[in-house]
Subunit: 111 residues, 2 copies
DNA sequence: CCTATCGGTAAGTGATAACTTACCGATGTG
DNA sequence: CACATCGGTAAGTTATCACTTACCGATAGG
């Protein structure tokens, strides 16, 4: 219970290209806010704001490190997203099974 | 080559809650535009516009059926999304491995 | 044919969300 | 105990995007 809606937050969070960049960057190791900002075409406050949203979606976590604050990827949100996507995938497959019975019986890579 | 950027489109497309609703609805079987619209709190043209975006992201396909037009889920976009997510997942796991070597050697479900 | 249904497109509107600059508190350093 | 660095927050601006109504072409049916 109360395990859902996380995936929705995660979809929402990764719907933004800048946040995807940030998230992918963190996938290569933990980074401070400043380190992230210099790699992106946006200001440091903008990065802070994006990080808050990623954090709310359980996609990243942070820990203090002196004056700085290190952010790193987190499994929780990603896992929610993964599970959700799996359901969609299953639905899609079920659809093809139905279509195969109804229509012609050939196998195609696409459709 | 030229197989990327699809995932970006897919992330973008599913970043919107209404489009997620539409996509999940189609996961239960193909539907006409009108059939989708009556189930949602938005107008039919709005659904049409959403469907165009989902189609560009290769998440749905359509076929004519008399006056109507039937939409159904498509694998391509979903697969791109899945692959992309898998990369993120791997990055996240690699991160934990690194952190485990550096820090204390205990295993936790979260972090 | 005339008429109805269905759906895509055009045009316009309003909300929102991504960004900026300015400021402030917290931590670490000479 | 100044002083600098770092990052979060506030406030304001702007562009984008989700939505609406109006219209139009295409197919089907009497």
């Amino acid at each position: 219970m109360a395990a859902r809606a996380y995936a929705d937050d995660a979809f929402e969070a990764l719907g933004d290209p800048t946040r995807r960049q940030i998230f992918r960057l963190l996938g290569r190791g933990e980074r401070s806010v400043g380190e992230i900002a210099v790699q992106l075409p946006v200001s440091r406050p903008a990065v802070s704001q994006h990080l808050r949203i990623l954090k709310e979606a359980e996609l990243v976590s942070d820990r203090p490190d002196g004056v700085r604050r290190l952010y790193s990827v987190r499994r929780t949100g990603l896992e929610a997203l993964r599970t959700d996507l799996e359901h969609m995938w299953d639905s899609a497959l079920a659809e093809y099974a139905m279509a195969a019975e109804t229509g012609a019986g050939d196998e195609r890579s696409d459709r």
